[in-house]
Amino acid sequence: MLLWLVILFPLLGAALNGLLLRKVSKTVSHIVGASALIASFACALTAYMQMMSAGGEGQVIFGFDWLEAGGFKAPFQFILDRLSGMMMLIITGIGSLIHIYAGGYMHEEKATWRFFSYLNLFVFMMLLLVLGDNLLIMFIGWEGVGLCSYLLIGYWYEDDANAAAGMKAFLVNRIGDIGFLIGVFLCFKFFGTVSFSELKDIIINGNALTGPQLEAVSWITLALFIGACGKSAQLPLYVWLPDAMAGPTPVSALIHAATMVTAGIYMMTRLNFLYFLAPDTQMIVASVGAATALFAATIAIVQNDIKKVLAYSTVSQLGYMVLACGVGAYAGGVFHLFTHACFKALLFLGAGSVIVAMHHKQDMQEMGGLRKYMPITHAVMLVGVLAIIGFPGLAGFFSKDEILWKAWIGGGPVIWGMGAMAAVCTAFYMTRLLMLTFYGPNRSDHHTREHLHETSAVMWAPLVVLAILSAVVGYLNVPHVIPGLPHLLFEHYLSPIIHVPAAAAEHWPHLTATYSHSLELGLMGISVLGMFLSAGFAIVLYKNGPSPTAIKLKKSFSGIHKVLTNKYYVDEFYFKYIVDPLKDMSLFLWKIVDTVIIDGIVNGIGQAFMLVAGLTSFRMSGSLHRHAMVVMLGIFCLLTILLF
C-alpha cells in the first residue's frame, strides 16, 4: 500500500500543478511540487525500512491485471527489493532536495506550475521505470521520462535552440528505444515472459537453456543495451545529453545527472543474470563504457560553458557505470550511480547557484573570484569537485576506484587504462572548472559584479545536505585494501540481486577469485597520483584565470584544441552522414514518390473514374421514373425466376 503512495504522490502533485494551480502564485506551486516529493520520500523510506526489517527479501506487489492476450500476461505489478528500493530512495530523496532548490532557482520565471508539474510527472515516470516488475511497465516509465525530459529541456521553448535541443534528445532517445523494444519482443518470443521475476526463475532455477535461447540472450541483451545507450548517453548516442543542458539547471541535476540517465545502468543491473549469460555483449558493453568515459572526459577539458563541462562529465561518469556493468561489477556500477547522483546533483545545483548569481551567464571565462561573493556555494562546490575527482576519503574515490579495480581484473589493462585516463582528465577539467569559477580575479563586467551575492537559504540548504552526502556515502563500500573500516558493505547489500547463472560461471572467474592486495593498492596509488598531478597542473594553469602558459599550450596544440572544442565533430558527422541524407531521402520521398507517384496514382484512379463516368453518365437522366422502372424490372425478373 505504501508503495502505491510513493508512486501516486508525484502524480498527484503533477495533476494539481498542471490542472488546478495554473493561476496561483509561484510559491504555492513550489510548495505543492516539493511537498509531493517529500511525502513520497517519507513513504518510500517507510516502505524501504519495512522491506529491510523483513530481511530484505524482494517483494512483488500485485496491482491489477493489465495486459492479457492469449498466453501473454503482463500484470501491473511492482517489485520492491534491495535494488529498486535503493533507486526509489535516490529518486525521491535527491528529487526532494532538487525540488526545494528549484523553488529558489525558478523564482524569477513565469509559469512555474508547468515546471513543477513536469518535474513531478518525471518523478512518477521514473518511479514506474524503477519499480515495475516487467519490461513493459519499465518501458512506460522509459518513454515517460523521455517525454518529461523533452518537455523540460524545451521549458524555455520561446527560444528555438532550446526547442531543438529537446527534439534532439527525443529523437536520439527514439533510436535507443527501438533497440529496447526489439529486446522486449525477443525476450517474449524466446522466454514467453517479460517479467523480471519470471525471467530470473527461468534462468536461475529452470532447465538448462536451449541453443536458440542462449543465442537469443546475446541479441536480447545487445538490443536492450542499445536502449541503455540512448537513455544513458553512451557512444554513439550520447549527443543529446550536452544539448539537454538547455533546460533549467535543476532539471539538468535531477534528470540529466542523478536519475533518468542512470536508467540504462539500472536496467542492466536488473537483468544482470541475462547479461552474465552473454559474455560477447558484456565485452561490447565494457568497451563502449570505457570509450565513452575517456571520449567525453577529453571533450570536457576545453569546454568553457560551466554546464557543458558538467554535462560531458556526466557522460564520462555514466561511461564508468556502464563499464562496471560490462565487467560484471554491477554492485560497483550501482554504487557509483549512487555516489554520482549525490555529487553530480550537488555540482549541477552549485553551478545553478553560480548561474543565478551571474544573471544566467554560463561562460566560465567571465567568472572568477566568486569565492569572495558566494562562500557557501564555494565550499559545497569544493566538496563536490573533490568527490568527483576521487580525492581520497570522499565518495568518488571509493566508487571510482572500485570500478577501476574491477576493470583491471575483469576487462584487462586496456580497459583499465582508458578508465584511468578518463579519471586523470576528470581531475583536470573539474579543477579547471573550480579555479575558473571561484578563484583568481573576477572577470565579469561591472554591472554583474555589483549584483553578485550568495543565494537564498532555500537554494543553499539542499546543497549543504548534498555536500554532506557526497562526503560520507563512500564509506558504504570501502575496498578490502583499506584497513580499519567495514568492507564492501554495499556489495554485500546488493549481492541478493546479482545472480551469476551456473551455465555462465566459467566466463566470470574474476568474480570469485582472490587477488593480491598489493596489486589493488598499486593501481589505486597510480590513479590517485595521476589525479593529484593533473589537478595540480590545472591549479597551476588556472589559479589566476587562464595563465599565459595555458594560452601558450592552447596555441601550440591548436589542432587538438580545435577538434576537442568542436567535440570531435561528431554532431557535424551525424548531420552530414545521417541527418542530411535522411532529409534528402525524405525530400525525395515527398517530392517524387509522394507527390508524383502516389498522388499520381490516387488522382489518376479518380480521374479515370471521372472519365468513365463522363462517358456513361448520359444514361443518368436523374428521372425518378427511369430509376424506379429499372428497379421494378429487376423485381419482375426475380419473381419470374422464383415462380417458375
Binding site: A613, T616, S617, F618, R619, M620, S621, G622, S623, L624, H625, H627, A628, M629, M632
Partner: protein, 100 residues
C-alpha cells in the same frame, strides 16, 4: 366462396395499377397514393392467406403493414411539403438532383 387464386389475381391487378402509377405519374402525391395501392394489394394477399392457411398471423401482419403505411405517408408527405417549399414544384420531371 371465392378461391384463393381469385384473391391473388385481384391483388395482382391492384399491384399492377400501383406500379403503373409509380412509374408513369409525375405528381409525387400520386406516386405515393400508388404506393398505398401496392401496399393494399399485399394486405389482400395476407388476409386471403390467413383464410386458406387457417392461421391469423397474416392479419397481424396487415396490422403492422398499416402501421408502416401510416408512418410512410406521414414522413413522405412531410418530405413532399419540404420539397415543394424548396423547389416550388413536386413534379418529378423537374426534380432531377440525381442527374449525372
Amino acid at each position: 366462396m371465392p378461391t384463393s387464386e381469385s384473391y391473388l389475381i385481384l391483388a395482382t391487378i391492384m399491384f399492377g395499377c400501383g406500379v403503373f402509377g409509380v412509374l408513369f405519374r409525375k405528381n409525387l402525391i400520386l406516386v405515393m397514393m400508388s404506393i398505398e395501392l401496392m401496399l393494399n394489394a399485399v394486405n389482400l394477399v395476407f388476409v386471403s392467406a390467413t383464410q386458406t392457411l387457417g392461421n391469423v398471423d397474416g392479419q397481424v401482419m396487415v396490422f403492422f403493414v398499416i402501421t408502416v403505411a401510416a408512418c410512410e405517408a406521414a414522413v413522405g408527405l412531410a418530405m413532399v411539403i419540404a420539397l415543394y417549399r424548396k423547389y416550388g414544384t413536386i413534379d418529378t420531371d423537374f426534380l432531377r438532383v440525381l442527374r449525372g
